[in-house]
């Protein structure tokens, strides 16, 4: 039994829900993200948020998977602050939905001033509505700088409790600093550009398993919605205790996400 706390099922087929269920997935959370193209209007985001809060929970429930979501305008579409703020205005109406866990995945992409301005606006939105936060950190050469800018911005904002913020896509060069500053951290198991199951297991052996989770971030690009069970298998092959494997793939996400008061793992298959 496992939780995939970051996966973009809107980009995946129903077959993937079935495969994940067969592999033991009982719950997922799906952050709002960049669809691979820029949406042309705030209404496009309204439609997207409706899919995340209405369509995907039903699709997941067919296979006994509890579906939850996080809402935002992602940093890749934050370079136009006027447009981004129009999207932010429509988010509050969705926050009351039972499957919405908070604001995410917000963060930075290229570490620009406009991205940072909209990131800070999201932090204020989260604070105004007492929401938890899921943070995206930049890719590749931009990650270390962006991760530090993000943590500094949260600290300077001064309202959000780091224990209610998860900073995702950490790797070997960012994980220690994120944990030391009191945040939860996510390891994304992603071919080529993030972390392999083997490296994730290495990171647990070097940095421990407290406040860490693993996720697939499966989406429309090269990615693997079964990455979490594959990491569990890697840890099992190395001889790690079942309790350790369960901690990073079930207990930790359950502990963090249960702070929302909305997270559940008990959906019965509806099909």
């Amino acid at each position: 039994m496992y939780i995939d706390p970051h996966v973009h099922m809107v980009s995946r087929t129903t077959d993937d829900y079935q495969r994940m269920a067969l592999a033991g997935c009982v719950a997922i959370t799906e952050p709002a993200f960049w669809a691979g193209y820029d949406r042309s209007s705030p209404q496009g985001f309204h439609d997207y948020f409706s899919v995340l809060t209405e369509t995907e929970p039903k699709r997941a429930a067919q296979y006994g998977i509890a579906h939850h979501t996080w809402l935002c305008i992602n940093p890749k579409e934050a370079e136009d602050p006027v447009f981004a703020r129009e999207v932010l205005e429509i988010i509050p109406e969705f926050l009351k939905c039972e499957s919405v866990l908070g604001i995410g995945e917000i963060g930075l992409n290229k570490n620009s001033r406009n991205e940072l301005e909209i990131f800070e606006a999201h932090l204020q939105l989260a604070a105004d509505h007492d929401q938890m936060v899921l943070v995206h950190t930049p890719h590749l050469e931009d990650k270390r700088k962006g991760t530090r800018l993000i943590m500094d911005a949260i600290k300077n904002h001064g309202v959000l409790d780091p224990n209610r913020v998860l900073i995702d896509h950490v790797e070997e060069h960012t994980v220690r600093e994120v944990l030391d500053r009191g945040y939860w951290a996510g390891l994304t198991l992603y071919p080529d550009t993030k972390c392999t199951p083997q490296r994730a297991a290495d990171i647990f052996e070097m940095h421990g398993t407290d406040r860490l989770w693993i996720n697939s971030a499966g989406d429309w690009g090269p990615s693997d919605p079964l990455a979490v069970p594959k990491c569990r298998d890697e840890m099992r092959r190395r001889g790690h205790l079942e309790a350790t494997i369960r901690k990073v793939s079930f207990d930790n996400p359950l502990e963090f996400l249960s702070q929302t008061g909305k997270f559940r793992t008990d959906v019965q298959p509806t099909r």
């Binding site: 620009s112 001033r113 930049p138 050469e141 931009d142 700088k145 800018l149 060069h173 421990g208 407290d210």
Partner: protein, 112 residues
């Protein structure tokens, strides 16, 4: 109270037995990639080495220095070291390497 990291339960020989072939293949892929670059026609404009290759050669040097935390240090080497936000995002993607990286030999004699 924080829990201790779970130690790697495998012996050194078990690690080598389990992962050697996978990484033998990866080092051959890397060698073949560098050979492919050398065999390719030179670009029409400019002869300066691509910054991504310069960065990769720096990373390979780190593999052989015998020091720990190679993965972290390679990621650090390929990271943008600046600390201030940039004026505007020039693109959505990332290249995988910081375009200002210089190998240690090229940094010798620099001020600051």
């Amino acid at each position: 109270m924080p829990s201790s990291p779970p130690p790697l339960p495998l012996s050194r020989s078990a690690v080598v037995d389990r992962y050697f072939l996978e990484h033998r293949a990866k080092v051959l892929d890397l060698a073949a990639f560098l050979d492919r670059v050398d065999r390719a026609n030179p670009d029409a404009v400019g002869s300066k080495e691509d910054f991504r290759l310069t960065s990769l050669r720096g990373a390979i040097a780190l593999l052989l220095d015998g020091e720990p935390e190679r993965a972290k240090r390679i990621l650090d080497l390929m990271s943008d070291p600046s600390t201030e936000p940039i004026a505007a995002a020039p693109m959505k993607g990332a290249t995988g390497a910081w375009d200002g990286f210089k190998p240690a030999s090229a940094r010798d004699g620099e001020n600051g």
